[in-house]
């Protein structure tokens, strides 16, 4: 579960830690007391649902591998902070072979950036020898490819869906179970809630830049895959789409939500933790419909207890986000994973790949999925009762919608487009009279200014 974006405090700690690890790393022996050392870098606080579960999973992997290989020490190097901190810390660690982690866990879009810098080992030969890789859906196999080679293997995927409060729906006289067939159905339900239940947020969808790219992933990008034109980056022309019928449909949805007063409070939407607010607000019946992540359900389980919400499965129902006009299969979601990658400079490639193999075992994949709020990559494990029954009905739906998901463009400039979208939705949320044309102009101007007008494109 991705949680907080970084603060400058984190950044200071990161800088200090990077400095310290650079100093310490320079003298880090590959062999300590006759033992081979394999280093693993991963997020301590951002990826798993809480720090205890991070320790449990990584500690378990370490203990198992050291039991299987008594002459090996698995050295864990947790990274503090949020999404940007993980990328920044890894960028610094990879700069020297002495500090480059043998295995690192990173968000899928980071793999492309790190691989293109030449820091990662292609994994194709190794993957061909494993039993599990063949069972990964093609889209997931290809998500961490760069120039035709695979550099990352997923530990699990996030996708996105609609949560709605059954109690509030009944109170407002809306049908339960609810199956919105189009975006207009969502708006219509929101309007009923707005009229009948004052004080409740009718439609929770993220706007602005509080949670960085997550404000887009759980805002515009929840709808764009189901719009008439989902393209963000045009592979043929190598240009960024800043105006398209799809974007106009999405901004139109935002315009309706915010101009009719159906959105969340600005201070909540613009806060760093906004991507997880519904986990806390839904048990208090403060939100009727939430565009949320697949990990919310697991967070209400007894094991994770972000808050423990025993009635969650009866009250917070889930349904796939529909497409704009109900076109089959009527599912709109992005997928975004956390991958394992191996350093190009690892001194012990064979052992490191064995460790990677262990991390992808059935038990480790399912535990990771349950403890971090993911869908496992292996298409067999998504049907396993251990996974399905951990957080019903959420895990089941997340597995059903996964194959329909599309991924964010992996090039670094995606974050520029994302920031442009953040500015556009901030305006739509904050100034309800902002028109769709104005929002498109904000996005277009931002991307043109940051990159170049020649790198932008209008789709008709």
């Amino acid at each position: 579960m991705p949680r907080h974006r970084l603060t400058s405090f984190h950044f200071a700690v990161l800088a200090a830690a990077a400095g310290a690890s650079a100093l310490g790393g320079a003298s880090r022996p590959a062999q300590a007391a006759g033992k081979t050392v394999i280093t693993c870098a991963y997020s301590e606080t951002y990826v798993f649902d809480n720090e205890d579960l991070t320790k449990k999973w990584w500690g378990g992997v370490k203990a198992d591998f050291e039991r299987m290989h008594p002459d090996v020490t698995v050295q864990l190097e947790p990274i503090q902070g949020g999404y940007d901190d993980i990328l920044n810390k890894l960028s610094l660690l990879y700069r020297s072979p002495a500090t480059a982690p043998d295995i690192a866990q990173m968000a899928t879009p980071m793999v492309d950036r790190i691989a293109s810098a030449g820091y990662l080992l292609p994994l194709d030969k190794f993957l061909a020898t494993t039993a599990w890789w063949k069972r990964f859906p093609p889209a997931i196999q290809q998500e961490a490819m760069w120039q035709g080679k695979t550099y990352g293997v997923t530990t699990g995927e996030n996708d996105f869906m609609l949560y709605y409060d059954v109690t509030l729906f009944k109170k407002a006289g809306l049908p339960v179970p609810w199956k919105p067939m189009s975006w207009n159905d969502i708006l219509a339900a929101g309007r009923v809630v707005k009229a009948k239940l004052p004080g409740v947020v009718p439609i929770w969808i993220l706007a602005g830049s509080g949670a960085g790219d997550f404000s887009v992933l759980m805002g515009v990008n929840m709808l764009l895959p189901g719009s008439s034109t989902p393209t963000i980056f045009d592979d043929k022309t190598q240009k960024w789409v800043v105006d398209s019928p799809g974007l106009r449909e999405v901004f139109g949805f935002f315009h309706s939500v915010f101009s009719e007063g159906m959105g969340g409070k600005l201070s909540d939407l613009f806060s760093e933790s906004s991507n997880n607010d519904p986990i806390f607000m839904m048990p208090k019946h403060q939100i009727a419909i939430a565009f949320g992540g697949n990990w919310y359900g697991g967070n209400w389980s007894k094991l994770v207890s972000t808050p423990y919400w025993p009635e969650a499965s009866k009250i917070a129902a889930v349904v796939a986000v529909p497409t704009v006009n109900g076109k089959a299969p009527n599912i709109s979601t992005m997928v975004s994973g956390w991958d394992l990658a191996v350093s190009a400079t690892t001194k012990t490639p064979a052992l490191t790949l064995q460790l990677l193999d262990l991390m992808e075992s059935k038990e480790n994949q399912i535990n990771a999925a349950n403890w971090a709020g993911w869908v496992p990559g292996d298409s067999d494990y998504v049907k396993d009762p251990e996974f399905i029954n951990f957080a019903p009905p959420y895990n089941e739906l997340s597995a059903v919608i996964l194959p329909f998901g599309i991924t964010e463009p992996a090039t670094g400039d995606y974050l520029v487009w994302s920031r442009g979208v953040q500015e556009a939705t901030a305006a739509l949320a904050q100034h309800p009279n902002t028109s769709v044309d104005q929002a498109i102009k904000i996005l277009s101007d931002y991307v043109s200014n940051q990159l170049d007008p020649s790198q932008t494109e209008v789709l008709k």
Partner: protein, 294 residues
């Protein structure tokens, strides 16, 4: 009075200054020059140019010239610094200093302590206090009668300026209090004897006498505010939109969010140049003050 030492440098003085000079060159001048070089390269945090970056001549400067966000950011920086440094120093700092001078001893001690504590707080704490104070559901919205009242997002620049003034007023108060105490009482008494009101004495005697202190203080607070990344980053992250995107934040965003280290470094260089100008003015001002005093 000219210093003899400056005209005839001797070997011992040179030797004694050498360690400091080496430290300054190695830890300050060197990195700054390197940052200027990086500002003219295409170095990226990640991607193909992370390791194999090269000098790109004027490319980044051309981009800077037509980057409307940079110019907007420069304007926001000027507003933030001017509002914080000038208003914060001349109005709040001076008002506190004058009030404290005329207050009874216990009140002077209490107010002085509170203001200085505010100044001593780490930027993180000050930012969190102001965030909690001004966001919806915070103290200000409760005082305003509606928990939905969101002062921070409605008037972001005003709130971050107030927060910065709040956090630096203690420093100004200390400096200006010292300045006030150094105003010769006989001059003020002479003014009073001539029949000038308290206000006129303050405007036409105290302020002109304190001018060097005030200017020095403005310059110092300007420098402090120019580099105040943490306060705004924690409170608004430069937003909403670009409403509080001052140069240090924009530079951070380019370098460590978009991964464009080269362009980020160039933006940082602009901050260095602006700070250098203010630092030069500060040094010049304090030298003139010292010479005038001598």
């Amino acid at each position: 009075m000219k210093g003899d030492v400056a005209e005839r440098p001797d070997g011992v003085a040179f030797l004694l200054l050498l360690p400091t000079a080496i430290l300054l060159l190695g830890l300050f001048v060197g990195p700054v020059l390197y940052a200027f070089y990086l500002g003219l390269t295409n170095i990226a945090l990640m991607g193909p140019t992370a390791r194999h970056f090269h000098f790109t001549g004027m490319a980044n400067l051309h981009r800077l010239a037509r980057d409307s966000l940079f110019w907007e950011s420069l304007k926001l920086t000027a507003i933030f610094v001017a509002a914080s440094a000038i208003v914060g120093v001349t109005v709040v700092g001076m008002a506190l200093a004058v009030l404290i001078q005329h207050a009874v001893a216990w009140l002077r001690a209490a107010v002085g302590a509170i203001v200085v504590v505010a100044w001593m707080l780490p930027p993180l704490t000050a930012a969190l206090i102001w965030y909690a104070f001004s966001t919806s559901g915070g103290t200000l919205s409760l005082l305003g009668g509606s928990s939905r009242l969101d002062v921070l997002d409605s008037f972001p620049m005003t709130v971050v300026c107030l927060a910065n003034i709040w956090a630096t007023a203690g420093f100004s108060m200390l400096v200006l209090s010292a300045g006030l105490r150094s105003v010769p009482t006989e001059v003020l008494e002479a003014g009073r004897m001539e029949g000038a009101s308290r206000w006129r004495v303050f405007c036409f005697l105290t302020l002109p006498i304190m001018k060097p202190t005030i200017v020095t203080n403005i310059l110092l607070v300007t420098l402090l505010s120019l580099g105040n990344f943490s306060l705004i980053y924690i409170m608004t992250g430069g937003g909403p939109g670009n409403a509080t995107d001052i140069l240090p934040i924009y530079s951070y965003q380019q370098a460590l969010v978009f991964g464009k280290l080269g362009y980020g470094a160039l933006l940082g260089d602009v901050v260095v140049i602006i700070a250098t100008i203010f630092a030069y003015l500060y040094v010049r001002m304090s030298r003139t003050t010292r010479m005038a005093a001598a």
